[in-house]
């Protein structure tokens, strides 16, 4: 019997072309995905160097980062942004690369549309000049973020020179409680082990609570591995993944599907395989989480006090500065803190399952007065599916702004942004200083927590906002009244 292997070793070893003798391997890259913000630069630079894309059929591009998300859009409202769109269009056309542009029915955030179109597949390597590329590991792929220069290398040679990362397994045992999601699992992990806790490692997420997640939840969990400092993260592909992929645009068909399926079923960690590091988290004890500072590691259970900086800790100055920026104090509880805006979107939490859970909370209720509340679907396909189910009506009736897909207000590029000093609760991945606009105070949390907070006008616990009965049973109006009355006494 051969030695037991980790899933990571199986994925990596299947792609090693040569050992470079420097601690790096020459690794075959199956898919390159580009977006207009960094991909345009890589394509221009590659063309300027006189090099060609080795296999343009395995390179894809999308416009998502700086595209307008207002209905009727034609391009971008980011100052200077048009040049990025134009360069992406021109260079993809010249190189023969498939571009999903603003008006394409398949346009959307790269890490949302890549699974939707089955561009990412189990067992594949995929790189994208975007740090949240690790999201796509949710399908059992080895997907990671690179720089523009590495993207040039990947396109020109079909390979990358990469140091083999260490292996880490993060096992979530037990089951999540009601109102607790994949986002909370990720924030709990990062809060416990730090924003660089996964540094230098490829993480396999495993355990009962991970297996129980739908594909969207796994995408959220793997997405946040970027905030854990990991090179990448993935989940062993199972029937949930196979059922999701079957029949999608670039998925294999017929006999090729059966052959692929047989290969994909082998993509598991063998019993007894050894990891460089193991972390175990108890899903039963995870509460809805929220960030209080300017790094995702600055996160606490929503009903817990903000920790006081430990004066002897090297992070004490950073913590004090973070609290100053966020206008919060140690010991303070986040619950009940008034907010100015709520944002639901981004590659972390903007998929159909996310929107369905938000709709369940906001149905029959209304955003608190004076709160800006925005929902950006992760892709044009998500937008259409949500509209088919009538979710858009629920959002609009509740006072949310319902827009077109893109990265939008997840980060500030000079176009849309929140007002300086605004306190924003956001389903995104980063609460860095200025991330959503100069001086903006971002709290990251699950879509449910964002939705509940938008309704309350203050940071709220989604467990306190159970869905109202469906319309038509005669009780909804009373419940709206009750919850509105309840808000005043929080």
């Amino acid at each position: 019997m051969t030695n037991p292997h980790t899933l990571f070793a199986k994925l990596w070893d299947a792609h090693v072309i040569a050992s470079l003798g420097t601690g790096e391997d020459l690794v075959a890259i199956d898919r390159v995905f580009l977006h207009e913000r960094t991909g345009s630069v890589a394509l221009r630079s590659l063309a300027a160097s006189g090099r060609c894309v080795a296999d343009p059929r395995r390179v894809f591009a999308v416009t998502d980062h700086i595209v307008d998300t207002l209905p009727g859009r034609t391009g971008t409202r980011v100052p200077g942004g048009a040049a990025f769109l134009e360069a992406t269009r021109e260079e993809t056309r010249k190189a023969g690369i498939r571009l999903f542009d603003v008006e394409d029915p398949d346009q959307g955030i790269v890490h949302v549309i890549s699974p939707e179109l089955a561009i990412v597949l189990p067992g594949a390597t995929l790189v994208c000049p975007d740090s949240h590329s690790c999201s796509q590991g949710a399908l059992g792929a080895l997907a990671w973020g690179i720089g523009s220069t590495e993207a040039e290398h990947a396109m020109a040679t079909g390979t990358l020179r990469v140091s083999r990362p260490g292996t880490m397994r993060v096992t979530f045992s037990g089951q999540l409680g009601p109102g607790v999601t994949a986002k909370d699992m990720a924030l709990a992990l990062i809060a416990t082990h730090g924003a660089s806790g996964g540094k230098g490692h490829a993480i396999e997420f495993a355990g009962e609570a991970v297996a129980a997640l739908d594909l969207e939840g796994r995408l959220t969990l793997c997405n946040m591995a970027a905030e854990f400092g990991a090179m990448t993260a993935f989940v062993a592909p199972d029937q949930i993944v196979f059922d999701y992929l079957k029949g999608r645009r670039y998925a294999p068909r017929g006999p090729a599907w059966n052959a692929a399926l047989a290969a994909w079923r082998l993509l598991t960690t063998d019993p007894g395989a050894v990891f460089d590091r193991e972390i175990v988290m108890d899903a039963n004890t995870i509460a809805p989480m929220m960030s209080w500072g300017v790094s995702p590691q600055d996160s606490v259970p929503i009903d817990a006090p903000i920790p006081a900086p430990i004066p002897t800790s090297p992070d004490a100055t950073s913590s004090a500065r973070a609290l100053d920026y966020m206008a919060l104090a140690p010991g303070q509880r986040l619950l009940g803190t008034p907010i100015d805006a709520a944002f639901i979107g981004s590659c972390t939490n903007s998929r159909l399952a996310d929107l369905r859970r938000v709709a369940a909370i906001v149905r029959g209720r209304h955003v608190a007065s004076g709160i800006t509340a925005i929902i950006i679907p992760g892709s044009s396909a998500v937008r259409r599916a949500a509209e088919t189910e009538g979710l858009d009506r629920i959002f609009i009736d509740a006072g949310f702004d319902w827009r077109m897909s893109g990265c939008s207000l997840c980060f500030y590029a000079g176009g849309d942004g929140f007002a300086p000093g605004a306190r924003v609760i956001s389903s995104t991945n980063r609460n860095f200083e200025g991330r959503q606009g100069p001086g903006v105070r971002t709290h990251i949390a699950s879509p449910e927590t964002v939705a509940a907070s938008a309704l309350a006008g203050a940071i709220a616990d989604p467990r306190e906002w159970p869905p109202l009965p469906a319309p038509g049973d005669g009780k909804a109006d009373d419940r709206v009244h009750e919850s509105a009355a309840g808000m005043g006494t929080r």
């Binding site: 072309i17 040569a18 420097t22 601690g23 790096e24 075959a28 199956d30 913000r37 960094t38 630069v41 221009r44 630079s45 090099r51 343009p56 059929r57 395995r58 100052p79 200077g80 040049a83 990025f84 360069a87 023969g96 597949l121 067992g123 000049p129 740090s131 973020g145 690179i146 720089g147 220069t149 290398h153 020109a156 040679t157 079909g158 390979t159 020179r161 660089s196 400092g229 645009r249 998925a251 294999p252 090729a256 692929a260 290969a263 090297p314 992070d315 100055t317 950073s318 500065r321 500030y412 590029a413 000079g414 300086p420 980063r430 860095f432 200083e433 200025g434 991330r435 100069p438 001086g439």
Partner: protein
């Protein structure tokens, strides 16, 4: 083909910027990325800290690089996990254009570290105590990449860097050129892999 000027050694003033988790949004805010290229970025370097108002160019006198003693420092002394966050290579291009040729930190975010190596900035890993000792000398710093040493006044420390990164930085080598020496192995891999995993090789782009 040389992608950038070789950096076998760097000597000069070292600006201390010791906060942990300095992210790429801070190094170059997205709003400061105005062109489809690798230039025109130095002005936006650390814009959120360097200038008093967003979008303005009025220097904040409290920011280290606005201190005349540290202006245009070729070396940054940094905190843990420097360069975390987005993969945007613009962060490294902005630093390089500003004149930074080395960053010394207890640790780097991996994508940022890789971007440094491919763009002519030496990522030097030293423990936090050594970095504090260097700051305390108040003297210029010399980084000898070939000897893998950092010296400042009477402080001297060795650092580790892998051979390929060292060769690329010291000689200004382009990684694509290095990889193209493996063209035969790449072609052989694809022939075998096409049989093993035909679904990976797309025939058309509908």
């Amino acid at each position: 083909m040389s992608a950038f000027a070789p950096v076998p050694c760097v000597s000069g003033v070292a600006a201390p910027l010791l906060r942990a988790n300095v992210d790429t949004d801070t190094i170059i805010p997205s709003r400061e990325i105005k062109g489809v290229g690798k230039t025109g970025l130095a002005d936006g370097l650390f814009a959120g800290w360097r200038y008093l108002e967003p979008g303005s160019r009025t220097p904040d006198p409290d920011f280290i690089l606005n201190d005349p003693a540290f202006a245009e420092a070729p070396i940054l002394l940094a905190g843990e996990n420097f360069g975390c966050g987005s993969s945007r290579e613009h962060a490294v291009w902005a630093l390089h254009e500003y004149g930074v040729r080395a960053v010394i930190a207890p640790s780097f975010a991996p994508i940022f570290r890789g971007n440094c190596v491919t763009n002519g900035i030496i990522p030097v890993v030293l423990d936090a105590a050594a970095i504090i000792a260097i700051v305390a000398t108040g003297r210029p710093v010399t980084i000898d990449l070939l000897a893998q040493t950092v010296t400042s006044g009477d402080v001297s420390a060795a650092f580790i860097i892998d051979d390929e990164a060292k060769a690329m930085l010291a000689q200004g080598l382009d990684a694509i050129d290095l990889t193209q020496h493996h063209a035969a192995a790449i072609a052989a891999f694809h022939i075998a892999d096409r049989t093993a995993r035909p679904w990976i090789y797309l025939e058309a782009t509908p």
